[in-house]
Amino acid sequence: MIALEFPPINEILRWKDLVPGFNKISIIAILAAVIAIGLFLAATRQDHNSAPKGSRNLAEAIVEFIENGVVMQTMGRDGLGWTPFLLSLFLFIYLCNVPGIIPFFQMPATARMAIPMFLALLVWVVYNGTGIKHQGFFGYFKSTLFPPGVPKALYILVTPIEFISAIIVRPFSLAVRLFANMLAGHILLVTFALLSEALFQAKDKVLIPVGILPFFMLIFLTSFEVLVAFLQAYIFTILTAVYIGGAAHPEH
């Protein structure tokens, strides 16, 4: 038998304060902002007339990815003004996700509810504000709750569904999707790391070689988390663009 002890959930999720009111999640959030600002600051200091390389190449590639892969696909040319917001959102979420696989950090900041919740609420405010700005208060809620082309009798069903879907569920789903995916990944990595350690240190020598299986699974999941970190940032960003685009131009 092996002595496998899974730590309490709070032990792998809640971090002690380094100084009062400041823990590992705070460090990751600050580093995410600092790294993003540093990257773009370094990029803007390079000569923009020559072929981009290094930090400028990376920064321009990210900007073009957001413009061509997110904004143009969901909002069209009119939405290009939202690029800085979507770019900041994507970078911040990605840089908060990635520490989940970086040694010594090994914790995605988005595996805690605070940051996804704040970002989802911010997006909620932004897309509702955009809808009200473009269509007026009543116009926006009319187009949202009473979608055109639907038989009037169906509004009894459609309007409550649209209200729950567009006004309540959207921010909730945005936050929970990001948080739950990152939390699940983090717990999976902890689980396989603990299992590998327990098997490698088992008293029964027969079990030691078996430890290679969860160890390979740990390596595979670490690689998978690289993809998940990018994918979740992309999904959050593109859904934000879809919501803002839908609020600004409901006819689309």
Partner: protein
């Protein structure tokens, strides 16, 4: 290690939950729900400090990106793309101009070829005419020289014959005078000799 915490009320089991082994279990007052120390707050609930630091960091990033970094980067990108577009348009214009130049050159080349062919034909015709003229002149000169040579030969032949005829006439006159003992008429002998020679030459 996980430990099962059983909650009893009135002698009946009302709930079972798993807690960490290092958590101390405090007996419940009046036999009600047990209090578990050390489990901490709900792990899903957001913490204010994380919310504050996360929100602050993101808002700083957003403001710096929106106000300063993105416009500067984008301006540089747009400027470079505009330069590239201008360079491409310039290259297209140069290419079109080069194509026009090539077309004009080929047109001029064709005209020059036609002109050169005409000049060559004219030169060839002129050369042929000059050669024919020269041939004619040379042939005439040769014919004139041949005629002169033939006339000279004829004259020389006639002179030789006259000398031979005279000599034969003299000899015949001498021989006849010796044979007959009297001198014949020399003119008659000479006519006879001429007639014989005339007949022999035919």
């Amino acid at each position: 290690m996980l430990r099962a915490v059983v909650t009893q009320s009135g002698g009946h089991v009302t709930g079972v939950r798993l807690v960490s082994a290092d958590v101390s279990v405090v007996p419940a007052a009046e036999g009600e729900a047990t209090e578990v120390e050390g489990t901490g707050p709900n792990p899903i609930a957001p913490e204010t400090k994380e919310l504050a630091w996360g929100a602050g960091s993101f808002l700083v990033l957003l403001i710096v990106m929106r106000v300063f970094l993105f416009p500067r980067l984008k301006k540089g990108m747009d400027q470079r793309y505009a330069n590239i577009r201008a360079d491409i348009e310039g290259a297209d214009a140069v290419k079109a101009a080069a194509r026009n130049d090539v077309a004009e050159y080929e047109k001029a080349l064709a005209a020059v070829r036609v002109e050169a062919a005409a000049k060559i034909d004219a030169a060839r015709a002129k050369l042929d005419a000059e050669r024919a003229e020269k041939l004619r002149e040379v042939n005439a000169r040769i014919a004139a020289r041949r005629n002169d040579a033939e006339a000279e030969a004829q004259a020389a032949r006639a002179a030789a014959r006259s000398q031979i005829s005279a000599a034969v006439g003299t000899v015949a006159t001498k021989a006849t005078s010796i044979a007959v003992g009297k001198s014949p008429d020399a003119s008659v002998v000479q006519r006879a000799v001429d007639a014989v020679m005339e007949g022999a030459s035919r």
